[in-house]
Symmetry: C2
Subunit: 221 residues, 2 copies
Amino acid sequence: MSISNPKQALYEQFAQVAKAFGNPQRLELVEHLAQGPRSVEALAVKLSLPIANVSQHLQAMRRAGLVSSEREGKFVNYRLADNGVLVAFAAIRSVAERHSAEVERVVRGWFDRRDDMEPISREELAARMVDGAVTVIDVRPPDEYALGHLPGAINIPLSEIEAMSEEFQPGREVVAYCRGPWCVMSFEAVAALRRKGLRARRLEDGLPEWKAAGLSFEVSA
Amino acid sequence: MSISNPKQALYEQFAQVAKAFGNPQRLELVEHLAQGPRSVEALAVKLSLPIANVSQHLQAMRRAGLVSSEREGKFVNYRLADNGVLVAFAAIRSVAERHSAEVERVVRGWFDRRDDMEPISREELAARMVDGAVTVIDVRPPDEYALGHLPGAINIPLSEIEAMSEEFQPGREVVAYCRGPWCVMSFEAVAALRRKGLRARRLEDGLPEWKAAGLSFEVSA
DNA sequence: AATTCATTCAACATAATTATTGAATGTAGA
DNA sequence: TCTACATTCAATAATTATGTTGAATGAATT
């Protein structure tokens, strides 16, 4: 694959970027890094993968320009290179959603249909949050919540949703969100809350998209 | 790579789409299909690749939902599945452009710097076309021009640009475009016209983006 | 200096991707 | 039916990607 003419060389470069997205583990890393910068070990724990494996995936993504890294003492923190990476990820997801059948089926097999979760748009939620007519819950782990969350959102990790569901007022609507549009935790949270008879919906996507849209968010002290 | 839990299955689906983009030949096919539907053989001729090879790449893209196909007599015509494919391609290119260094260098090695070609935006060109103050030339091959081109654009394939350059009025500005933002033909056209002392610029991208932006275009009879 | 710990590197085995070849399939027309 | 032709399929070889292991590197701490 020797690159002689510029056209070939360009396509080769573009293909390298696409290849960096072309692996499920790396996509999961992108989704986690979209929540905020992370060390190699922190990511390895979240994905339940060997550290060396994660390190190599991160290096591959760095070569392609998806992430950047910075040493901080003994740790190396990786972060998404820029917002374009999330735009590209969203575009790839969109193609997958429109095509497959398979994506629908996968989600449907575990939860109800995606539509039945009645996703609420960013704009609508933002408007209703002003009225104070909705309880917003962040179902991600506390460390991700700490790096940034919707204004006024309560952090209730999925493991605690059953126990906490007693605390909600029955009539009041609850909106759950997590890492992104296909993050399964918010699907499960809504399903669990509905089993308890509560009015629950999903935010259509997650915190990264909220931030990318320029909406305000809070960071824990 | 057995897919047990839904999260893994989703990432796997998304990765399949990204992988379909992760090959230079397939990206070139996407760019050609963005000009209009094509048969396998027509694409094979344009890429100078064996037919069986092109057929397999197209089938891989079809499995991933990038293209659809339809038999028409002895031929099988492939087309882009939807506009989302171009959006994803543009997003991938954007990541590559922002990262590499390499992309800049490749273009710079053959032409002047990309900036020196003074790309003109779609909006600006559309405005100036109303005034009639600019000559627009389409430097793609005639068959692609026939499938659709900017209103009033003259088709001058790259091979004829030298000869035709005599025809232009020296003072009048010429804008060249071709398949997309990195299509090398428009770079070469501008360079050739400038060597003749003409005022030439590039459209920032190509016909597919023009159409995707909802601007009007012409189709040959 | 020695130790600890996070990360990276190097080497290896396995799996996936790619290009190539020739045969098979399917369609149109003689 | 026979032929021509576009496309697909099947088999192969070469290349590249991936995951695993243990050793090497780099930075902080003792």
